[in-house]
């Protein structure tokens, strides 16, 4: 990923030089990926939106301190993650009176199945199956799986975002994949409890 100068690095450079349109372009193209990532931490759309705005304002104001040769995606993801978690933490502290369900303590990763591709009955079963496997993963593993498989980020990029060593990313991924690849039926209590838990989160998310 590092050995080609991507189109977005050109836009990034323009932004660093003070090109406002370039900032707008970056924000526009990263809005959805960042919003989706943000949704793993909170279901509050407004908080996500505000945090993304703040992120780009900070990027703009710090542009004279930022490096040219930067991995734009992992830089934005890691800054966004830090900023959003800080905001949520503060909100959590101030919102002691209301137990607001929209601030998830956990990394929420729920899969859907596109039933245009797979026929319905089978699809529902599959969706449940993967959701069971995924929701049984610890937070860190879930997040690594998300970044790896649904955001196609490299080991190094993930290590940067989560502020952990690349080797740790590999280890976490290995363990998570070990669990995901086990097609063996889950134990009885899991089979009973986790679907409940999953549908509970699904209601939550909506």
């Amino acid at each position: 990923m590092d050995f080609y100068l991507s189109n977005e690095n050109i836009i990034w450079d323009k932004m660093l030089m003070g090109d406002r349109d370039a900032l707008g372009k970056l924000m526009h193209s990263y809005f959805r990926p960042l919003a989706n990532y943000g949704l793993r931490f909170t279901t509050d759309k407004e908080v996500i939106k505000d945090s993304i705005q703040e992120l780009f304002i900070v990027v703009w104001e710090r542009r004279s301190h930022l490096a040219v040769a930067v991995n734009v995606k992992s830089y934005l993801f890691s800054s966004f993650r830090r900023l959003l978690l800080r905001t949520l933490k503060k909100m959590h502290k101030t919102a002691t009176l209301t137990l607001d369900s929209s601030y998830l303590e956990n990394f929420a990763l729920i899969l859907g199945v596109d039933d245009k591709i797979i026929q319905t009955e089978h699809a529902i079963k599959l969706s449940k199956h993967f959701n069971i496997l995924i929701s049984s993963l610890p937070e860190r593993q879930k997040e690594v799986v998300y970044l790896k498989f649904f955001e196609s980020l490299s080991r190094e990029e993930i290590s940067h975002i989560l502020e952990i060593a690349p080797q740790t990313v590999s280890n976490i991924l290995q363990i998570a994949l070990g669990k995901l690849r086990q097609g063996t039926p889950v134990s009885l209590w899991k089979a009973l409890l986790i679907p409940l838990f999953v549908s509970f989160i699904e209601i939550f998310i909506k």
Binding site: G24, T87, T94, L111, V113, L126, L180, I205
Partner: protein, 379 residues
Amino acid sequence: MQINDPYTQYSLEEFIWDERFRNDVLKGEERFAYWDNWMKLHPSKQPIVEKARLIVLSIYVKNVYFHEDEIQRIVKDVHMMLDSDHVEETTFSTTSTKRNSYKYLFIAASVVVLSLIGWIWIGKDKAVDFSYKPSYENLIRQVNKKLIERENQTNAPLIITFPDGSKAMLSKNSKISYTENFTSSEKREVFLVGEAYFEVTKNTQKPFFVYADGLVTRVLGTKFRVRSYSVDKEVVVEVTSGKVSVFANPDYLSGDKKESNQLSSIVLVPNQKISYLKSDASIIKTLVNNPIVLLPLSEGKMSFDFDNTPIFTVFKVLKENYGIDIVFDEELLSQCSLNANLEGYSLYEQLNVVCKALNGNYEVLDGRVIIVAKGCINK
């Protein structure tokens, strides 16, 4: 040749979560050609590979939906925020050395965060100081500059022109004072008890401050109203045009020393209003009682006559005409449309009609309108 190919031993799940396999599936037919060949070599594995491919293609993460228009608006908002921040920066740099400018950039950014997170802290911060009760007289006493005072004891409003050309329309039983060296000092400072409507001449180098009880309003050039009668429990600021920032300040002198007032400032845009509660120095942001359409017809005001108009567009018209934010569930209401001529009604009457059609209602929160609706009745 393929004897040690580990893929021959793979289960369905192992294929699904294999990085290389996933990439080949997701990056299109060309990349998948390898697997077409592979299946020919391992015909017994064909069903499993086909199935794994379909599953990889079909599973996706459940995501939040933002409409394209909404994203564009959000990007535009950032540009607007940067415009206003830029102006603030220049005023900061007149009082600070370059070494400090980075710090102020950080503060400017923090202003944004804090105003988003809410006004709760202002109350927290300021409630500590009970010894001092801010009032017009107390503020004036702290100013060690010569002041010029004007008072309106008549029933008609009194128009006051400041040395810089800015104007204030002073209501009855109101008093205002301003520094004698108004134009030569680096801030334009005005102290108010009672009510006044201001039209401030733009000067980005010299911000205009209105001190009213424990609330400070800071502008560069706008139209706004401040109401702060000493018998009232609250101070109210309403904006007609431009941008205004307000912050709680229990003590005139503390304003110069601390940065905290900058940190906890709240930005108001037209049709927004804040109420500052004197008792606990808390600030609540809402909309003015009767929001006005900001743009005249000639300057792009959009018609309120809706004919089978998608609800998204209806809200867009309301948003842009009044310059306010309306939050609603786009996904839920995407199928809804509206047939009504709302021309000549107030914003709140218009919202009532729209919400009725959407089987819901609205609330005003933090200067924004939040639509809570179940969806349209017909569909």
